[in-house]
């Protein structure tokens, strides 16, 4: 078995779940710190939410998503929601964090609202591993 895993399969578009098993979004992109003088890049943040996805998709649809996310965001936060990779407790089959959603203030209000009012009431949302 290889000592490393595929970013596409293990991270991108994977369900994010907090330590209370509450699904609240997906990994829409990953921020990397690239070394200046060779060596391994490090993941500095998992990005989630409409803005990160919009920036990834690009084009008219992407710009529309970013504009909507910017409009719905509360004044304090800027840029996409960032999650410290040090909070990741498990990578596969879903990305499980070691903290509760309420302790992630950087996850902006829209994702928080969607988690509580849209994702959680969905049939089967109680066990995201399914």
């Amino acid at each position: 078995m290889s000592e490393h895993v595929s970013l596409r399969i293990a991270l991108l578009d994977k369900q994010l779940v907090d330590c209370e098993e509450r699904p609240f979004g997906r990994v829409d992109d990953v921020d990397l710190e690239l070394p200046e003088d060779g060596g391994r890049p490090a993941i500095t943040a998992l990005l989630t939410g409409q803005q990160a996805l919009g920036e990834r998709l690009g084009g008219l649809l992407g710009r529309g998503m970013v504009a909507t996310a910017t409009r719905l965001r509360d004044g304090g936060s800027q840029g996409p929601s960032r999650i410290d990779p040090g909070l990741v407790r498990q990578l596969e089959p879903i990305v499980v964090l070691g903290v509760a959603l309420r302790d992630l203030p950087q996850v902006v209000g829209l994702e928080r609202w969607l988690a509580a009012h849209v994702v959680e009431p969905l049939p089967g949302a109680g066990d995201a591993r399914d």
Partner: protein, 109 residues
Amino acid sequence: MRATELLGTEVVDDAGRSLGPVRDLRVVPDTLEVAGLVVGNGPFAAIAHRWGYAEGRARGPWVLRGIAAHVSRDARFVPADEVLDWRAVPIRITCAAADLPHLRDVLAR
């Protein structure tokens, strides 16, 4: 830099020969460092990598698995240490294509 910006970027070897675009990044689960890149050519290789067939991870019709295994047979793993400049386009590496291990051999280790 976003990881998805790296995906699709062309990679060239030390002689300037194209190895194809970046199809995937390999990540060390414990440290979340990037161990290297997966590169490969071919019109259907992108789908094979995107859907997990190139890794042998996706289940599905044997026809699809067979086609995906065929189109991704030349995929190679580029260790991060061999990358000369991550920000350059195309991304340059320090060795020849023939010196890089095949992805299927890396996955079998």
